[in-house]
């Protein structure tokens, strides 16, 4: 029942998105323009500053993720169907999980584009240890989206929600950014530093467990009117 509801929410959003591709295309375009802006800031005499690629990758993920998060509940708000969704005889946490899965799929696609692009533009050896990089990206994305989806959901009814989302979100997800950037930077050098990367993956895993649990636990009371 729980996972079926989550799956239905995901399927509904995917079906709407497949009609216009609005969120996906704008998010991807924004991610690419982020990379370009940072490349002007961090490239000196034709060469990128050391470790800049790791920072740019994670900043692009965080920024484009924020943009996408701001619109996860936008369609419900416009159609005024959020209340109907919340009234459905289904566990509310399942709605959260469905939205979370949608965000994860979206950011996963953005990362598929960002990683090769950054590897290409900055001559970064991002593919030296592909499994570790995937683990870092997965851990970081889950942590970011878990907190972000919850905050986006609770801001649906708030005034000036577009401004408040990053204000609330960024202080909380700083550990994700630290772990993601440091872990990716460890993989970048001439000899990838595997133990350091694995340690940061551990930090991300612990963060994900705590914050997914906390979000599932607080979603129900937060969405009560």
């Amino acid at each position: 029942m729980f996972f079926r509801t989550a799956w239905l929410v995901l399927k509904k959003d995917a079906a709407i998105e497949a009609k216009s591709w609005e969120v996906l295309t704008t998010t991807l375009f924004f991610a690419v323009s982020c990379v370009l802006i940072f490349s002007f800031a961090f490239v000196k005499e034709g060469r990128a500053v050391e470790d800049a690629a790791a920072g740019i990758l994670w900043i692009a993920i965080a920024f484009s993720g924020t943009l996408a998060l701001g619109r996860t509940f936008e369609r419900e708000r416009y159609g005024e169907t959020l209340r109907a969704l919340l009234l459905a005889p289904a566990p509310r946490a399942a709605l959260y999980v469905g939205k979370l899965l949608g965000m994860l799929a979206l950011l996963g696609l953005a990362e598929l584009l960002l990683v090769p692009l950054i590897a290409l533009l900055f001559q970064a050896t991002l593919f030296a240890r592909p499994l570790l990089l995937i683990a870092l990206l997965a851990g970081g994305t889950v942590g970011f989206c878990a907190v972000g989806t919850l905050f986006a959901a609770m801001l649906v009814r708030a005034r000036s929600r577009d401004v408040l989302l990053p204000i609330l979100l960024y202080p909380i997800i700083i550990p994700v950014i630290i772990a993601g950037v440091r872990g990716t930077a460890a993989l970048l050098g001439a000899t990838p530093d595997e133990p350091t990367a694995i340690m940061w993956i551990g930090v991300l895993g612990a963060f994900d467990v705590v914050f997914v649990t906390l979000s599932l636990w607080t979603f129900e009371p937060l969405m009560a009117e």
Binding site: A158, I178, E225
Partner: protein
């Protein structure tokens, strides 16, 4: 509450007036000399901030799951007070750091956490101010998440070795330094209690006034 407020206020004022004399009479620390004395105000302000964060976290949990306006007022007051005491710590810290480390700021574990917590609680104050109706629950969620994020930042930033004096300094203070230190801590805690009482009372009056307006409009 109202009866004890006056004497309590006077006592706190008196303690803050006495503190400089006690601090002046405390011995100089052997390596840092005069600058070390900021510690009598710097550390207690962090103690007060963490107490306020603890109060805010508990009150937020109660409000989120039980919807109690009283707990909400306490969590609102505690969040604002945490910001104030955090600001005191963030101002006094760099003043000391400039002399002891030669730089105003270091990306050290404790400093980063302090800054992050300050940001988190400022964001909860902002959401209350600009979030419109329903922002009380949002702010309580931020309070709870802010509390949960502390160990992660600590773990994450600890990798860059810490140069901040250790917390183990405090229990091993010699009596000549310990007395003014704990006196300052007591004064700060009383100031915290005082501000909390004032702010909660203000919130209560505001709620009463709003209710009167509603009745008047009907």
């Amino acid at each position: 509450m109202r009866k004890v407020f006056g004497p309590f206020c006077a006592l706190t004022g008196l303690m803050f007036a006495c503190a400089p004399f006690l601090i002046a009479r405390a011995p100089y620390e052997s390596t840092m000399g005069l600058v070390q004395k900021i510690f009598y105000f710097h550390v207690p302000s962090w103690f007060a901030m963490f107490t306020a964060i603890g109060i805010c976290g508990v009150a937020s949990l109660v409000h989120l799951f039980r919807t109690s306006p009283r707990a909400d007022r306490i969590s609102e007051a505690a969040a604002e007070i945490a910001v104030v005491f955090g600001l005191m710590g963030l101002v006094t810290g760099p003043l000391w750091g400039r002399k002891a480390w030669g730089v105003w700021w270091q990306w050290d574990a404790k400093l980063t956490i302090a800054l992050l917590l300050e940001m988190t609680f400022i964001s909860s104050v902002l959401v209350r101010k600009y979030g419109g109706p329903g922002s009380d629950k949002l702010a309580s969620a931020v309070g709870i998440f802010g509390l949960a994020v502390v160990p992660f930042v600590y773990e994450a930033v600890n990798i860059w070795r810490t140069i901040h004096p250790l917390t183990s300094v405090v229990p091993n203070l010699p009596a000549t330094m310990g007395l003014p230190f704990w006196f300052s801590v007591a004064a700060y805690m009383m100031l915290l209690a005082l501000l909390l009482m004032l702010r909660v009372n203000l919130g209560k009056r505001q709620a009463a006034l709003d209710e009167l307006y509603l009745v008047y409009e009907d």
